[in-house]
Amino acid sequence: MNLKRLKFIDKPFIVTLLIILAFGIIIQSSASSGISSDSLYYVKKQLFMLAVGLIGVIIIIRYDFTEFKNFGILLYILSVVLLIAVLVFGTELRGTTGWISLGPLPAIQPAEFTKVMLILAFADFVNRRRGELDTLIKMLPCFLYMGLPFILIMMQPDLGTALVYIAITVIMMFAAGANIRVLLALVGGGIFLAGLILFLHFNLGIAIPLEDYQLKRLIVFLDPYNDGQGGRGAGWNTIQSLVAIGSGGFTGKGLHNGTQVQLNFLPEHHTDFIYAVIGEELGFIGAAFLIILYGILIMRSLYIASESREFFGTLVVIGVTAMWLFHIFENIGMSIGLMPITGIPLPFISYGGSSMITNLLAVALILNVNIRGKKIVF
């Protein structure tokens, strides 16, 4: 590893990232303080995961990203095997079989790690077909390639994570020059179809192979009090999150002073609903600040993508931004009643080892492309 290359590192990117990580640790110290008898238990664990992730970063940036191309198929096969393994050996938590235990090690969520692996694999796959993606027929192999892991994740079932894969697939193909009309038609058509099926099911009683409570959870955000239990059922999370954020006001109630969080009205407040903690305790200032930070992070990533030495690197970075963008939009969106509730974490902020390590590995990929950018002349 040539340490000299580190001087080419994108400073705005790295500074923004560090601020986000610090932000995450600070808010975690408040959000998780009441869960365990050791008020810093989750902060410590999160910091440990951060350290593990950094080791991963160091390992990854030692290799030139172009070498990863050769492992495309291997990573793909490994991902699929992992996703099948989790269905077979995984443990169920809140209706989703997403976790797998490896002996004494802490349980991991393979669907998190496979995101990065599949971004690399798909970047290689698409890169080979660059410029030949102008018809639906020609695009079909790409859809099939990513369709398999998508279906495996839907079988867990984990709709939120599965949708991340769609976002990654579509945006990477868009960057690779795929036919925009076809992509837009597919995305638009998909959304329309899903909406139509839901509408038909609930208004005309058309049967679909999903439990009603799962479907209700998807649409209840539109009218959370109409959940059949006066807001105490499926609508509860949306309501409590909105109340938390809404009551935070401009400046917030102050760290550790959010009543919705500290009195446990807000469920999952150190994981999925951590954004509501930010909104309640740090107010509009803190919540908007985080959105801006994410904006800078993605913008700098796009800049790095554009400066990539090879198109493969561009695709990888685009894939990572697509993953982040979807996580950010969905997670914050569900916290403010804009999106349905699907349990996907807020990058770098939500508590969770798999997610933290995955995102840091993604950072490593971006930095790898960054420090080996085309501008560098020796």
Partner: protein, 689 residues
């Protein structure tokens, strides 16, 4: 792909990113900046609960300050709703622990309570009041498996005197839906206890007090985290009753002992009630009804076994299981029997148709006018005094005839018979003073019903006969016969109707002796005798003497009130008092009760026996014993009236109670000290559960 093309795509992507993040920011601003106030209120409603703090009820005292009803601090088991899914397991865990203490508590019982409170789920639901200390400890030990289960410390009514004056005090019990609906907003909650009978009901507003409230910060499980503001509850006002606790005690014990003795001979003698009134003021000094009321039974969940004591489960009334719920001294009505004879006497005297001393009537053992109603003895020549002393039926039938029923009714009305006394207790009965109008109305209905049935039977009979016949002649004959019978029936109806709906001479005779349709409450009888005693002032009987605030200030004091000054000549009343005195003198029916009273405390009295006329009664043996009395003859102070159901004779049932009460009141002997075993009456009472 060319570099510009990629740049264009990246730019487009960047715009999408900016657009999406702007959407988030915009929505965030709407939620946080524009809807801030709404959500702040909601956050507050989430975490702040107003928990009512029960106000202790005002205390109830006897006239001398003895405590009749107070409050004690008890532990109550309550449940805070945690949502359907959690509730299930909590109830499961709770039932396991409660099994040993309250086997009758079921899941359905708890779910019903939760359902009742569905609109106020944030308020703890009181499940069981007054739980024992070791259960409190057990629940605390199992805290972690019982989220939402809390033990409230709250004041609860207690009646330190047990069943003493139980019916007067009444009881409190869980508020029912209609009571809750009819109350003002915020006055009661579904967990409230409310006065259901007696003084507790009558003076609910005075005793109740104002509940306080505690505003508490709670977490999502409804567990209180810290107190914010506390509004202290205000205890209700205390009240003093007119009851003389010693007299009350003597009367109840004497009642129990008398009933116990009578039962050896008359097993059906299980019910009695009595009242003692201060004749000068109308203050009720003692009032009892047996079987007794134990107000403590009612403040929690009454057990089914205990409920049977109050409400027997037999379909028809069974004298062996009379039920203790009602205060029979004001709610039950009885024929007065011979105690009505003073009314008859006064009616005759007041209309001037007889001279009390000089006019004699000869009693040969039955009246000389149809239907020749028998006297219980052969009295020979009697005047007013000896007739009352011997309770002669012939003399009073004759007096009733001379005075006329109109005068009888007038005098009875003057003394308040057949109308509510207006005592300050709920559910007072009215009784019945029979009048020709009343008789006509009720008999018309009866006779119409009877003949309606007879007419129908006649039709049916001939329908049947006609159906079986084919012969024309025979049919003709039957039709004619039917017509004839119909005419006969209608003629008979005319006769019966006119006879039954008209006041007959024998109605007057019956009434004059206190039999027939007469039906009065014991309190009415007591007040009637008290009115004779004080020379004609019908006082308003009452129980509440004063209302006192918690810091000892008298808020209101109640003065005696005259309901009516009776329109009867004073000498009529004084002659009647003399006649009543003769009842306790040698030869009088109540002499055996008061012969040992000192000269200065002469008692005036009247015995009576009344036919209860209940289904299954033996008309020769099953009489209610009625007794009225007042004393002393010169300057009377107190009046007594009492009824013992199936006591056979008035003197030997209720009379014994009057004797004990009078002896106590005038200090002749102390009933409570006479026999130690008698004071353990409450125990023997409990044994009857």
């Amino acid at each position: 792909m060319k570099a510009e093309e990629l740049d264009k795509k990246l730019k487009a992507y960047a715009y999408i990113v900016i657009l999406l993040l702007t959407v988030l920011g915009f929505r965030l601003a709407v939620v946080q900046l524009f809807n801030n106030e709404t959500y702040q209120t909601q956050a507050k409603e989430n975490r702040i609960r107003l928990l009512p703090i029960k106000a202790p009820r005002g205390e109830i005292y006897a006239s001398d300050g003895e405590v009749l009803a107070t409050n004690e601090i008890v532990y109550s088991l309550s449940l805070t709703y945690l949502g359907v899914s959690k509730q299930e397991t909590v109830i499961d865990n709770l039932l396991i622990i409660l099994k040993d203490y309250y086997p009758e508590i079921t899941r359905e019982f708890i779910e019903e309570k939760v359902e009742l409170q569905k609109y106020r789920l944030y308020e703890p639901i009181t499940l069981i009041r007054d739980i024992p200390w070791d259960l409190v400890v057990k629940l605390e030990e199992n805290r972690q498996v019982l989220p939402g289960v809390t033990i409230l410390v709250e004041p609860l009514r207690s009646y330190p005197q047990g069943s003493l004056a139980g019916h007067v005090l009444g009881y409190i019990h869980s508020i029912d839906e209609s009571e809750l609906e009819n109350s003002e907003d915020g006055e009661y909650s579904i967990n409230s206890l409310i006065g259901k009978s007696g003084i507790e009901k009558q003076y609910e507003k005075i005793l109740k007090g104002t509940d306080g409230a505690r505003s508490v910060e709670v977490d999502a499980q409804g567990r209180p985290i810290r107190d914010l503001v506390t509004l202290e509850p205000e205890q209700g006002n205390n009240i003093y009753l007119t009851l003389d606790i010693e007299l009350q005690q003597v009367m109840q014990e004497s009642m129990e002992n008398t009933l116990a003795q009578l039962q050896e001979k008359y097993p059906k003698a299980r019910v009695g009630s009595a009242v003692v009134i201060n004749v000068k003021t109308g203050e009720i000094l003692a009032m009892c009804s047996s079987p007794s009321m134990y107000p403590d039974d009612w403040k929690g969940n009454i057990s089914s076994k205990r409920a049977e004591y109050y409400f027997p489960q037999t379909e028809a009334y069974d004298p062996m299981q009379p039920g203790a719920i009602s205060n029979r001294s004001i709610q039950a009505t009885y024929p007065p029997g011979s105690t009505f004879k003073m009314i008859t006497g006064m009616a005759a005297l007041d209309s001037g148709v007889v001279d009390p001393a000089k006019d004699y009537v000869n009693c040969t053992g039955k009246y000389w006018i149809a239907p020749f109603i028998r006297c219980w003895s052969v009295h020979g020549n009697v005047n007013y005094y000896s007739a009352l002393a011997g309770s002669c039926n012939v003399y009073f039938q004759e007096m009733g005839r001379r005075a006329g029923q109109e005068e009888l009714i007038r005098v009875a009305r003057e003394f308040g018979l057949g109308s509510k006394t207006g005592v300050d207790l709920p559910y007072e009965g009215k009784g019945l003073l029979p009048t020709p109008e009343w008789k006509s109305e009720i008999s018309a209905k009866l006779i119409d019903n009877k003949y309606e049935q007879l007419r129908q039977e006649l039709e049916e009979k001939y329908d049947e006969l006609l159906k079986e016949t084919v012969d024309e002649k025979e049919i003709d004959r039957l039709n004619k016969k039917k017509e004839n019978e119909k005419i006969k029936l209608e003629a008979q109806y005319e006769i019966d109707y006119n006879w039954d709906t008209t006041w007959q001479a024998y109605d007057t005779f019956n009434m004059a002796m206190g039999q027939g349709y007469n039906d009065y409450t014991v309190l009415q009888l007591a007040n009637y005798v008290a009115t004779i005693a004080n020379g004609g002032y019908r006082m308003q009987p009452y129980l509440l003497s004063k209302i006192v605030s918690q810091n000892g200030d008298t808020i209101e004091e109640f003065e005696p009130q005259i309901s009516k000054e009776v329109d009867i000549k004073p000498e009529t009343i004084s002659e009647t008092k003399r006649a009543m005195l003769a009842v306790t003198q040698p030869g009088g029916t109540a002499h055996f009760l008061f012969y040992d009273f000192p000269e200065e405390i002469k008692v005036c009295a009247k015995t009576g026996t009344a036919e209860p006329g209940r289904v299954g009664d033996d008309p020769l043996k099953d009489y209610h014993g009625v007794f009225v009395a007042f004393a002393p003859f010169y300057d009377p102070e107190i009046a007594f009236a009492g009824v013992v159901e199936y006591g056979y004779s008035g003197g030997e049932s209720a009379g014994l109670i009057a004797r004990d009460v009078f002896k106590q009141y005038f200090g002749i002997s102390n009933y409570l000290a006479v026999d130690e075993s008698k004071t353990s009456i409450s125990e023997s009472n409990n044994a009857g559960e």
